[in-house]
């Protein structure tokens, strides 16, 4: 479903720095599977998620990203979103003055229009919002606030998953969705994510900790270091990393 081949990317030189971050990422996530990416701070995990989502701040210098057989490397972020790519941000952005539901309804309908589908009606959207909010323990009051404004770190992560439920993407990238969540919130969020699992949907779960993975039960765990995937294995790899840390991969950073 998602095929990343020999992906090299650097900070867009227009941003001032000329810094290579991704140095040959190879990763394939078939439909229906959940893959985890673990790795030390600064190894390029968030950069990978941004590059997949089409962030202009990074430039792909080599390699390819194929999504459902299509090369999406040159597509705009919104075109990738319309194809079903959803990124749960490590640091969700606050957008003052734009109410969450207004924003999401507009996003949902923009995606639908881009796909040639009928727009969702206001009542249907509201009904869906109420159902999904209930699943994640999100209050009415939270939904009325501007996007991410005034939320704690954990609440923001919860809202990201709420957005995922509302937009029902084909592929989810979760970038450290577990950080900032206490044990109870983690369970609620993990249940929300698990509810999205189905044979047509893929997920890439970026995390430092195995506790989220205990809930999500990934099919494959990858270790990222120095801008590449350096090892892949089953769920047991996450436990091993938790116990041993990333020291043995330190050499890969060169």
């Amino acid at each position: 479903m998602l095929e990343i081949k020999n992906l090299h990317a650097r900070v867009n030189p227009e941003e001032g720095a000329d810094l290579a971050i991704l140095k040959g990422v190879d990763l394939t996530v078939p439909a229906g599977e959940v893959h985890a990416v673990m790795g030390p701070n600064g190894c390029g995990k968030s950069t990978l998620s941004y590059v997949l989502a089409g962030h202009e701040g990074y430039e792909t210098t080599d390699g390819a990203i194929r999504f459902e057989g299509e090369d999406i490397g040159e597509l705009e972020p919104e075109e990738r979103a319309a194809r079903g790519l959803f990124l749960s941000f490590q640091y969700p952005v606050e957008i003052p003055g734009v109410p969450t539901l207004t924003f999401l309804k507009e996003a949902a309908n923009a995606q639908r229009r881009a796909r040639g589908e009928a727009e969702i009606s206001a009542p249907d959207f509201m009904k869906l919002a109420r159902e999904n909010a209930a699943k994640l323990g999100i209050s009415n009051d939270m939904l009325k606030r501007p996007v991410n404004v005034g939320f704690s770190g954990g609440e923001k992560k919860r809202m990201e998953i709420f957005q995922a439920l509302m937009l029902a993407p084909r592929f989810l990238i979760l970038d450290e969705t577990d950080s900032g969540l206490d044990i109870d919130a983690l369970k609620v969020v993990a249940e929300g994510v698990n509810a999205l699992r189905n044979p047509e949907r893929g997920m890439l779960v970026i995390t430092h900790y195995q506790r989220l993975l205990d809930h999500l039960k990934p099919d494959v765990v990858h270790v990222m270091a120095g801008g590449r995937i350096v090892e892949s294995g089953g769920p047991e790899l996450a436990h091993k990393l938790e116990a041993e840390g990333y020291d043995k991969y330190a050499g890969e950073a060169a």
Partner: protein, 363 residues
Amino acid sequence: MNALVKLSAFEAALAEALPEGDLRAELSARGLPHRRVEDWKWSDLRTALARFDPASPALTLTASRSPDRTAEPEHGERLMARLAGALGQGEVYELAPGERLSLDIRAEAGAGHKVIEVIVPDGAEAALHETYQAAPGALANIALVIRVGAGARLTRLIEQDASPDGVIVLTGELELAQGARAHQTTLGFGARLARLETRVRHAGGGAHLTLDGACHVGAGLHLDQTTIVRHEGPDGITRELFKSAAAPGGRAVFQGKIHVERPAQKTDAQMNHRALLLGEGAEIDAKPELEIYADDVVCAHGNALGALDAAALFYMRQRGLDDARARALLTESFLMEPLDAVADEAERERLKARLRASLGAVS
């Protein structure tokens, strides 16, 4: 007076139309305000009008009712206001308590001048709604004197429609008597040059003034909002909030001055201007000034200039909004604050819808 400048054909024709006297001599010697005149330095009216033809003016004023008098009203000291007085007709409206007066002003051709005086009697509550537009090649030069009586309340709404290749000069003078309240809100879109000047005198003490404005200036357009607030009596309150957004090729100007005279003790004045550049080639100039001669006052001003938040734009696009729509939504949320303060809900929603439409059309 000797001629100091070479007059444009437009200025020469204007001078020609004036009767002999000081005003004609002044115009002949100095021409119209231009960039070397301090408070017009960012709005070169001379140049904007140089190729205009003042002949066969067509200026229409559509009012919600006929004026009380058509006698010659007052027009203040400003050059453009004096020109309006000398070359245009005058109308006086004395508002009844509870009245909502609307004045729709359109310059269709040539140089149109008008002087309007609006009186809000002591203790009355009234609303004034003005709309300004100028067709290509046309000038609307309007002088408006508004007297808000003791304890009276005025809600003033100014809409300045996008007028490409037209020029609008509005010189508004508000006089606030003891304990008067005035809340003015401007929504502007610019013109070849639009100058919306608001001069306020806190003549009596204890008046409460709110001056708010939002503008979205598209490519090739220019909007200048200039406010001069003079606290003469004590215990006056002034609150100003102006938000400007300029698209590439558009230019917004904010000049704000608050002047507190010695007797105006306990004045409480705050002026804020926030500006948003919507891309390369957008220009926003701002000059907030406080001039304070009283010692027991609270006065503050703020001015900030920024661009759209790139992280927010990416976030919105990741969710599926295209770049233009994401920009429009962010700009809208930036500009809404002054409009949110409009008390009348129907008016508020109408203004917001206008702003939204403008943001959807130009980015």
